[in-house]
């Protein structure tokens, strides 16, 4: 029997494969397509204190090896999530990570307070790296001091472990990672999308309603692996690797580079069953490589 389980911030995950925020809805949408019980866990769409309408369309553009998005954190609001979605999610044996967003540090704290009362949430993931909103988001994530202040504020009220999701746009990912660790973060998610742009040459307009948007998908994977490697070296808390993962091989690159778990984002759109295939692929790799416990593989890169 190969043991795929990992422990992050005191939480036991049956395997290191999670679905990334914004690509998995509120989880329930996938119940018809895959066995949610097999997943290590998933992150909800970013939750804000009030429902958000999101950005004007077009909100996505396909690119080579990926896509740009400017969804703008459209969501039903944290209270609706706790009241309407969470009760149904409790039926499943998987870890639910609530992705948290605010336009100010106070709003992050407010969202977390509401979530504290929600039964069935395993951890909080603070999105301080969204490129698609003017205030909050990336502004906080790019500044080690602001990121630390926010982490501290949330840690003071949070009843559950706090994972901080970092931006690839910080001047130094290691610096932000260390600042957030010192402020009490229990784990890091690395990384969010990279700001990009695409132009329609016939209308001479940007292809996205908001001009710029976040790049995701296989195109960003090498950057994400590097960021995970740097972050994992800088801190002693666990790092969750995200960016362009489509296969078990992709996931393994992150794990070897230092990730204790991984998240699958954009690939869920093209193949709703991709997370299950990655889990099976990890088992196959471990069997072939005589690895009894996948956790022994974490950060074993030789360099």
């Amino acid at each position: 029997m190969i043991d795929l389980s990992v422990d992050i911030a005191g939480i036991h995950f049956k395997n290191p494969v999670l679905a990334a925020s914004g690509t998995f809805g509120y989880g329930l949408e996938f119940a018809e397509l895959i066995d949610l019980n097999r997943l290590g866990g998933f992150c909800t769409k970013g939750l804000s204190i009030e429902p958000l309408e999101g950005n004007p369309p077009p909100r996505i553009v396909e690119t080579h090896g990926g896509m740009l998005n400017s969804i703008g954190l459209q969501n039903i609001g944290v209270r609706a999530f706790v009241e309407q979605k969470l009760p149904h999610l409790r039926k499943y044996n998987t870890r639910v990570i609530a992705n948290v967003f605010g336009f100010s540090p106070e709003e992050y704290v407010d969202v977390v307070r509401v979530l504290n009362d929600g039964d069935g949430v395993a951890a909080y993931e603070l999105n301080i790296s969204c490129p698609n909103v003017k205030k909050g988001g990336m502004e906080i994530g790019n500044d080690p001091n602001e990121a630390a202040r926010l982490t501290e504020a949330v840690k003071r009220v949070a009843h559950r472990p706090v994972i901080v999701k970092l931006s690839p746009h910080a001047r130094s990912i290691a610096e932000v990672a260390r600042a957030v660790e010192a402020a009490g973060a229990d784990a890091l998610s690395v990384m969010n999308t990279i700001l990009g742009m695409s132009v329609d040459i016939y209308t001479r307009r940007p292809r996205l309603g908001t001009v710029m948007g976040g790049l995701s998908g296989p195109a960003i994977k090498p950057i994400a692996v590097r960021m995970v490697f740097e972050a994992a070296r800088a801190v002693s808390i666990p790092v969750i690797g995200i960016g362009g993962i489509v296969t078990a091989q992709d996931a393994l690159e992150f794990i070897i580079a230092g990730a204790s778990a991984i998240q699958v984002g954009t690939a869920n759109y093209a193949d709703p069953g991709v997370t299950i295939k990655i889990i099976d692929g990890l088992t196959a790799y471990c069997r072939q490589q005589n690895i009894a416990q996948i956790r022994t593989l974490i950060g074993t890169i030789r360099c």
Binding site: E29, I60, I71
Partner: protein, 289 residues
């Protein structure tokens, strides 16, 4: 909704950029007129997104569905679809979306208007068939830029067989088939004649056509349903890419074209500002479909 690996039975060019893809889906589900699937060649990650295709025709077999899709080769995804050969595998996620609604047949009047432009026409075949079955008399108005000397207009032969030749009216911008001009002019003169009063109108086509159809439906007090398009990443409600502004419960809000649509009541749609598109083939905004 389910995601299954289908097998290509046949994939061939009709004429020009139009192709017909016939697949065997090893599953059983009901498809409502106007519902669609998200498809890609199996395990193909480039381009990263599946393409939305409306179910054109569906036949139920013993252990499978046989479905037909009609597509226009435009960009990377549809070019790749055109590479598929018989026996190749295809991932098909469906059925998706709400589909058209067919009301009770009123005491008087059973005429129905179907309006399509270009690659919008496949959205209306299952609908036309079901309308016929329920005792309505649909009349199709279809327009395209040009036609093929041999094959005429895409799908139109199938509609002739279903509805009868006198219930299919065509227009081409270059006058090579049917009347010269745009399909909405055909529709308008039919409505203005007064002799024909449809009890419902259904449409799928490029945005300028759809806007005009919506105006005409309003002007002639005909309840209308329009099938819209939007750039989609997932097709089943999780990415929130595909939003459309609609009137809902007295306010204006975004809803998902893939779940709450793609079919909307004409009066609920809030049209965005038009974008002038000078593309040689026509991009999304001026109507790939």
């Amino acid at each position: 909704m389910m995601d299954v690996t289908a097998t290509v039975l046949n994939n061939a060019r009709e004429y020009g950029d139009y192709w017909r893809l016939r697949v065997k889906i090893p599953a059983h589900y009901a498809v409502r007129p106007g519902q669609f699937a998200m498809i890609r060649p199996s395990a193909q990650w480039e381009p990263i997104l599946r393409r939305a295709m409306v179910f054109y025709r569906v036949e139920h077999r013993v252990h499978a569905l046989e479905a037909e899709f009609i597509y226009r080769v435009m960009g990377r995804g549809t070019r790749q679809l055109a590479q598929l050969r018989s026996g190749d595998r295809l991932d098909v996620l469906g059925p998706l979306g709400n589909g058209f609604t067919i009301g009770e047949r009123p005491a008087v009047g059973r005429d129905v208007a179907l309006v399509s432009g270009g690659i919008g026409i496949p959205a209306l075949y299952l609908l036309a068939a079901e309308l016929c079955q329920r005792g309505f008399v649909p009349r199709l108005f279809h327009g395209d830029r040009t036609s093929d000397a041999e094959r005429g207009l895409i799908c139109v032969d199938d509609f002739y067989a279903l509805l009868g030749r006198d219930h299919v009216l065509c227009a081409t911008e270059d006058g090579s088939y049917g009347q010269r001009g745009v399909v909405t002019d055909l529709l308008e003169s039919a409505l203005q004649s007064g002799a024909w009063r449809p009890v419902a109108l259904y449409a799928c086509g490029p945005e300028p056509m759809m806007k005009r159809v919506a105006q005409l439906a309003l002007q002639f007090h005909i309840p209308a349903e329009l099938s819209l398009e939007a750039a989609m990443a997932c097709g089943f409600g999780v990415c929130l890419a595909c939003v459309q502004r609609v009137r809902l419960d007295g306010r204006i809000t975004y809803v998902r074209v893939c779940c709450e649509g793609p079919v909307f009541r004409a009066e609920d749609i809030v049209w965005e500002e038009p974008v002038v598109d000078r593309s040689p083939v026509g991009g999304m905004r001026n109507g790939a479909r």
